[in-house]
Symmetry: C2
Subunit: 769 residues, 2 copies
C-alpha cells in the first residue's frame, strides 16, 4: 500500500515530488480517449526511473512466444499493444542546461488529474544546477472530440534569471517495450522530417506493418503575445524536432502550445497518413487550445451525465468510484467494433493490452448500463467478427464441425496465451462470451442482433461444449474433464461446477434463441442453417441430452455446490486461519502448494451463482457464499466485486462494504504495490458493479428492472444511472428513501424492494423506508 | 524409421556415404569411456550438416532457465553437460585443397563400430575437386584403461597423385551447444599454446568455472617409417594447431597418430592441469597406439565377460542387445560416485545430460546384475550426497523438518526442470530413489550401506511423503493430491495409484530398515536420530497410520486398480481403435486432448505392479495388464520394457516379444526419426530388463534368485549373466532346456520354474523342459 494522493471529489491530486512515486503516478495520472492513451510521463527530459508509454488502440506487435517447454497447440506469438512514438516530448534548456526534475531541486510540485473535465495539469518550480529557477505549469489532454489529437499547453516562467531558454518539441519513435520477449524494438522508421515549427515521423511496426504518422506543430507565446519563431529543425532516424531559442528576462513567461497527432493505418489509408496528419494539425491550430479544451469539458460533462455515481458522506469513496468510471471511459468509447479493453487499458504494458474474458464478465455490464446500446453492441461485434478465428482455434485443438473456442487472450481473434492449463483449459471464457449476448439482449431487447449475429455465435459455442463434454459410463452422466475454472489456483480439474453450469446454460439459451429466430425470421434462420451445416434434429437432441443429464458436483450434506469433483478431498482450512505472513499466497507459496490447497483465487462457484442467482433460493446462496467466501483469498482484482454483490443481496452490508473497499481504491492507494505497471482497468468495472448491482441491487430480468438499494453505513446517500431499453433511470438512494427518476419519455416496469411499479416517462417514484 | 545399417553379431556397420544419414550415424557410432564421450564426427573438415559433440562427464553449464510464465518455485537454471573442446580434428589439405566429404566424390565409405573391442573404424576413398584421390582408414577409441586419453590412427594414401599433403591436427574450444537457451557460448579460454607437434588449450566454463585442458600430440609415419617433422605451430583465441606438410608420391601412405587428452578440474588440481595433460600425452606416446588398443580390447573383453547377452538364431536381436549393453558400458563405469547417467549419455545434447529417475528405475537393475556392487553403490551414493539439496528443494516448496524431495532433473542435486506439473508433481521419482536402496540391498545384501547412508535417505523421503499426504475428511482416508504419475499424459491428478503405493511402501520399508539398524547398530542409530531430530514415536506413528489408512483408487467391478481417482470418467477408447494417422498422439494431438484422453504414455499402474509383483496374484496382474496395455500408447522409450516383463510373466510370449521389438532396435533402426539427437541410453537398460527379467524371468526376493526362462519363438537359445551377493550365475536357455552355471565358489539358493534348488559353487544345474 502506498497512499500519497489527496482526497477530492473530482480530482486526483499529488503534492510534492517523490522520485519513488514517479512510475506509480505515471500510471494513475494516465490520460486516454479510446483511440490512444498516454502515461503521465513528463514532457521535459527525466533521467530518473520511468516507464514511457504511448499507446495507439489496435496497433499491436505479435511478439514471438517465449516458452520453456512447448506443448502442442501453443500459439506462435503474443500480441502486444506497443509503446508508440513519444508525442509529448519537449526538451527544455535554460542557458544550455537541460531541465530535468531528476537533477533539479523541485518545489511546489503538484499534479492534478481533472476527471470532471478530462485533462491533466502539472505544476512545479525547479532550480537547476546552474541556479536558474523556472516555474512550469503544464496542461495536456487527449481530445475525445477529435480523437486523433493530443494538445499540450506548457507554460514556463523565468523566476530568477534572464537568459536563453531553448525549447525543442519533438516526436520520437526510437522507443522500447519493457515487455519484449526477445529485447527487440518493435518499430521500423519509414520517414522523418522536420521544418519550421513542425516535425513528423512515419514508422511501421515490424511483422504487422501498421503504419503510424506522429506529427507535431507548436507555437510559443511570451507574456501573452505569440512569437515569430526562427526554429532550427532537425531529424535523424526515428526522431524529429524543431528547436527555438527564446531570450527571456526575469519574470517572463513563455507558453508553448504543442499540437500533436497520431494517425494510423488502422483508420486511414497509408498513402494519405502524412496528409491527414497535416490536416489534423491544421484543425487543432485553427480551433486552438482553449476552444478544444472547452469542447473537451463539454464532452466529458456529457459522459458524466450518463455514467456518474455520486456518493455523499464519503469523499474517499466518491473519488475512487469516479476515478474508476473516468478510466473506463478513457479506455473504451465504443465507437469502433475492432477495439476492446485490455486489463491495463492504455496505462501500462502488462497483459499486452489484449482482450480477456474480463470484457464480457466485468466491463460489459458497465457499458450496458451507462452508455448507448451501440457501445455494448460493438463489444459483442468484436467477438462475432472473430468467430471464424475461434472456429480455427477449436479445430487446432481437435474439435470440428464449426465448434468455436474463443481465445483466452487475443488481439485479432487468434490465441496468444501459452500456459496449457489456461490456454486450453480455462474455457469458461467461451461461456462468458455467450452470456454477454444474453446480457445485451436483456438490457437492450435488440433481438435483431440475435438474428444477424447472436445465434451464429451461440451455435459455434454450443457446438464446442457439446464436443468438449463427454459421457462418463462411470457416473452415467455427462462430464467435462480437464478444465480450469475462474479460480486459477486449481488447474486441470474435472467438472468445474461453474463451467458445467455455464456450458449447459449456453446450450439451453442457444435453443431458446434458435426457436425465436426460427419463428420471427425463418428465412434468416434457413440461410444460417445452410451456412453452418446445422443439423437441427441431431444437434439439438444432443444439447438437450447433455443439459438434462449433466453431472454437477455437489455435497448434499453441506448443501453446497462443489467447485470440482475432488474439491472436498483437500484439507479444508479457512482464510482466517492462514498465517498473515503467508499472504498473498501467490507471492509466498510454491505453485504446487497453492494448487493443493483449498484456497480460491477469485469467485468461481460464486461467479456462477452470481450469474444465475434467480435459479437459487436465498438459503442455497447463503450456504455457498459462507462456504466459499471463507476459502477465497481474493488474489485477483476481479474477485471481491462478485462477493460484494452477493453479500449485499444477503443483507450483509458490513461484509459487502468491506469487500468493496478492497477494490475501489486498489490503484489510488496502490494496495499491491504494483500500480507502476499500470491500472487495473477491467476490475474498475467490478467496482461499478459493486455499487450498482451490490448496494443498488440492480438486476434486469424478464424485461423488468429490479432495484433493491441499500446504503452502506459510511455513506449518507448515493446515486447512479441505469439505461434500460431506451430509458434512463436515475436512482437516488439514502438511508431513509429511494427515489427513481425516469429521465426518458418511455414508461418503465420496475420492481423496487420486491414490489412492482410502472414509472411513467419523465416521472419519478419515491419510497421512504 | 530409417534402417540402413548392416546386420552383424558384434559390429555396427554402415556402408556407402549418404549425406542425410551423417547426423544419425554421428549418434549411433558414438564412443565413450564413462569419463568422456564423443559423437562420431569426422576428423577432417565436414561442411555438411553435423552435430559436433565432445562431452566430459561432470562438466556442466547452468543455462539460465527459459520460461514463458514463471511459477513460484521454479529453478533459475537448467544444468547441461556441454559440448567441450574438439580433440579429434585433423585438417587435411591435398595440394592446397581441403579434404571435405561434403564436396568430394566419396567411394567405398564404410563405418564399423567394433563393440567387441571398443573402437570405431571409418574408411573411404575421396576424389577431391582437384581430381586427387585419397584413401583413408581412420580408427579411434576412448581408452577405458586410461580414461583421460583418446587416440586416433588416421591413415591416408595418395591413390592417383604425387604432391603435398598438409596435415593439421588441432584442438578447438570455440564450440557451440545447439541446446543453448540464449544462444550463448559456454566456454571462456584461459590459455592456448602450440609448438612443435603439440597443441593445447585450457578453457573455463562460464558461471561454473570448470577448467579443462585439452591437449594433443601427433606423429606422422610414411610407408611404415616415422617421419622427422618440421611443423608450423600456431594458435589463436580458443584454437591451437600444429601443421606439417608432407611430400607424397603416388601410392604413398601416411599414418597420423593423434594422442589427445582431456583433463579437467573435476578430477585434477587446476594449477596442475597442463602438467597432467603433458604426462598423459607422454604415457600415450610411450605405450603407443597398438599397445593401448590391445589393452582396450582386453578391458572390453572383461566387460563383455560380465555383461554379454548371447542370442542364437536372431542376428538382428543379437546385434541390438549388444549395442544396448555396449552403449550402457560406454556411458557409465561406476568408478565415480559424482557421476550419473543422462538419458542421451554422451551421444547428444538433449535432456542436458543430467540425471532423471531413469537411473534408479531402469539403469540400476542392469548394473546390479552385471557389475561389481560398487558400481550400483556409487549410483546410490550419488543421491545420498545430494540429500541436503533434496531437503532444501522440499523446503523451497513449503515442506519442513528434513523432508527430502529429490529433483526431477539434476546435475548437482538442485532441481533444473521447470514445468510445474512435472517439477512439483511428478514426485514418484522420490519413491524410485527409495526403491533403489531396497533393490541394491536385495541384490547385494550390503546392509552396512543402510546403516551409513540408506536409512538417512529413507527417513528424508518418508518425511516428505508423510507431509505431502493429507487426510481427506471426505474419504476418511489419507490422500495424495495433485500429482503426475509416470504417465505424463495425465497431470495434476489426485491419488495416482502408483505414487500412493510407492509412498506407503517407502514408509513401511523405512520402518523395517530402521528396526534393523536400531538392532544391529544402536550407536549409529542414536547418532543419526540426533542428527536428524528424529522423533521416533511421533513420526513412526504417523507413517503407520498413513500406510494403514491410505486411499487406493480401484474399480472393484473391473477388478483393476485405477491410475487415479477420476480415470474411469474418461471416455474409454482402446489403442487399437485409434486412427493410425493420429499416432503418435504426442505429435498429432493438442496437449489438452492428450490429457483428457484415457491414453497412457508409459507404464504407470503397471509400473507399480512390476515393482511389487509379489503382492498380487496372477489374476489381478492379468486384469490390470489387459486393462492398461490396451490403453497404453508407449510414447516413451521407457514404457514397453515394463509391459514386456509382465507379458512374459503372464506367459504371453508373443505379446512380450512384440513389445520387446519396439525398443531393442529403437536407435539402430531409428524408429522415431530422431536418432540424430542422440541415443536413448537409459531406455537401453530397459531392453536388458526385457530379456533378463522378461524372457529370463529373473527376480530376486527374500535372499533368493528366481528364474523362469522362456525362449521367444524367433530365437534358438540365449544366455545372460546375473550377479547375486558375490556370486555370478550364467543362464543358458533354449526351448528345450535351461542350464544355470554358478561361476563363483559360493553356493546359491535358486528357484527355477517355481522349484527351489541349491547350486553349489562352480557347479551347474540343468533342467530339460
Amino acid at each position: 500500500m502506498n497512499k500519497y494522493l489527496k482526497l477530492d471529489k473530482w480530482n486526483i491530486i499529488e503534492e510534492g515530488f517523490v522520485h519513488e512515486n514517479v512510475t506509480s503516478s505515471e500510471s494513475i495520472f494516465s490520460i486516454g480517449n479510446g483511440r490512444m492513451g498516454q502515461r503521465a510521463n513528463f514532457e521535459e527530459k527525466y533521467s530518473g526511473e520511468t516507464l514511457q508509454g504511448n499507446y495507439i488502440a489496435g496497433v499491436y506487435y505479435p511478439d514471438k512466444t517465449k516458452v520453456g517447454w512447448w506443448k502442442n497447440g501453443y500459439p506462435e506469438y503474443f500480441a502486444k499493444v506497443l509503446n508508440a512514438a513519444n508525442w509529448i516530448g519537449i526538451n527544455i534548456k535554460v542557458d544550455g542546461e537541460e531541465l530535468d526534475l531528476n537533477t533539479s531541486k523541485v518545489g511546489k510540485f503538484k499534479r492534478t488529474l481533472n476527471m470532471l473535465e478530462g485533462h491533466l495539469l502539472r505544476s512545479f518550480s525547479a532550480t537547476m544546477q546552474n541556479k536558474n529557477t523556472v516555474e512550469v505549469n503544464a496542461q495536456r489532454f487527449l481530445s475525445i472530440v477529435d480523437d486523433d489529437l493530443g494538445l499540450i499547453k506548457y507554460a514556463i516562467k523565468a523566476v530568477n534569471f534572464s537568459g536563453v531558454i531553448s525549447i525543442a518539441p519533438y516526436v520520437d519513435v526510437d522507443v522500447v517495450n519493457e515487455d519484449s520477449n526477445y529485447d527487440e524494438k518493435f518499430w521500423d522508421s519509414i520517414t522523418q522530417s522536420a521544418s519550421d515549427n513542425e516535425a513528423s515521423i512515419t514508422a511501421k511496426t515490424k511483422k504487422t506493418n501498421f503504419v503510424v504518422t506522429t506529427a507535431m506543430r507548436y507555437e510559443i507565446w511570451k507574456n501573452g503575445e505569440k512569437l515569430e519563431l526562427a526554429p532550427v529543425a532537425s531529424f535523424r532516424d526515428k526522431y524529429a524536432e524543431s528547436m527555438s531559442e527564446i531570450k527571456v528576462a526575469e519574470g517572463d513567461e513563455l507558453i508553448i502550445y504543442k499540437f500533436a497527432t497520431n494517425v494510423s493505418s488502422f483508420n486511414h489509408n497509408v498513402s494519405k497518413l502524412e496528409e491527414v496528419a497535416k490536416l489534423e494539425l491544421n484543425k487543432a491550430q485553427n480551433k486552438h487550445y482553449d476552444t478544444m479544451l472547452e469542447e473537451q469539458k463539454q464532452a466529458w460533462a456529457a459522459k458524466w451525465e450518463e455514467s456518474d455515481i455520486t456518493i455523499e458522506g464519503d469523499v474517499e469513496a466518491q473519488q475512487a468510484i469516479r476515478f474508476n468510471i473516468f478510466q473506463l471511459n478513457q479506455t473504451y468509447t465504443g465507437e469502433d467494433e475492432r477495439l476492446n479493453i485490455g486489463p491495463k487499458g492504455f496505462t501500462g504494458e502488462k497483459y499486452g493490452g489484449v482482450t480477456y474474458w474480463d470484457t464480457e464478465a466485468y466491463c460489459l455490464p458497465f457499458y450496458l448500463a451507462t452508455a448507448d446500446k451501440h457501445v455494448a453492441r460493438n463489444l459483442l461485434l468484436y467477438r462475432y467478427k472473430q468467430l471464424n478465428r475461434a472456429i480455427e482455434n477449436a479445430a487446432k485443438l481437435g474439435f470440428n464441425s464449426g465448434a468455436a473456442l474463443f481465445p483466452m487472450v487475443t488481439m485479432n481473434g487468434e490465441e496468444c496465451h501459452n500456459e496449457w492449463e489456461i490456454t486450453f483449459e480455462e474455457i469458461h471464457r467461451n461461456g462468458a462470451i455467450a452470456f454477454a449476448v444474453y446480457n445485451y439482449i436483456r438490457y437492450t431487447d435488440d433481438k435483431e442482433y440475435l438474428e444477424d449475429y447472436g445465434l451464429e455465435l451461440l451455435i459455434g459455442i454450443s457446438r464446442f461444449w457439446s464436443q468438449r463434454i463427454t459421457y462418463s459410463e462411470n457416473y452415467k452422466k455427462y462430464v467435462m474433464l480437464g478444465v480450469t475454472g475462474p479460480n486459477e489456483y486449481e488447474n486441470n480439474v474435472d467438472n468445474n461446477w461453474y463451467t458445467n453450469t455455464l456450458a449447459c446454460w449456453t446450450m439451453d439459451y442457444t435453443q431458446e434463441v434458435l426457436d425465436h429466430v426460427k419463428s420471427v425470421a425463418p428465412a434468416k434462420f434457413k440461410a444460417l442453417s445452410e451456412k453452418l451445416n446445422f443439423t437441427e434434429s441431431v444437434e439439438l437432441a444432443r444439447w438437450t441430452d447433455i443439459s438434462d443429464n449433466m453431472h454437477y458436483p455437489e455435497d448434499k450434506e453441506l448443501g453446497v455446490f462443489l467447485q470440482q469433483d475432488n474439491y472436498l478431498n483437500k484439507e479444508q482450512i479457512l482464510v482466517k486461519d492462514l498465517d498473515p505472513k503467508h499472504r498473498p499466497i501467490n507471492q509466498n507459496w510454491s505453485w504446487d502448494r497453492i494448487l493443493r490447497s483449498c484456497f480460491i483465487k477469485q469467485a468461481d462457484t460464486l461467479q456462477g451463482i452470481y450469474l444465475f442467482e434467480e435459479n437459487y433460493d436465498k438459503e442455497t446462496i447463503e450456504r455457498n457464499f459462507d462456504f466459499y467466501e471463507q476459502r477465497t483469498v481474493h488474489e485477483s482484482s476481479l474477485s471481491p466485486c462478485v462477493h460484494t454483490v452477493l453479500a449485499a443481496k444477503l443483507d450483509r452490508m458490513d461484509q459487502a462494504y468491506d469487500l468493496y473497499l478492497r477494490t475501489s481504491r486498489l490503484d489510488l492507494d496502490d494496495y499491491n504495490v504494483e500500480v507502476h505497471e499500470g491500472l487495473h482497468i477491467t476490475s474498475m468495472a467490478g467496482t461499478w458493479m459493486s455499487v450498482v448491482q451490490g448496494f443498488g441491487g440492480l438486476r434486469v430480468n424478464n424485461g423488468k428492472v429490479y432495484l433493491n438499494p441499500r446504503t452502506p453505513k459510511a455513506w449518507d446517500s448515493y446515486s447512479f444511472k441505469v439505461r434500460f431499453r431506451g430509458s434512463v433511470l436515475k436512482v437516488n438512494a439514502s438511508k431513509n428513501s429511494v427515489e427513481v427518476e425516469n429521465q426518458s419519455s418511455n414508461d418503465v416496469s420496475l420492481v423496487l424492494f420486491d414490489k412492482e411499479y410502472k414509472v411513467k416517462g419523465n416521472d419519478s417514484l419515491t419510497i421512504n423506508n
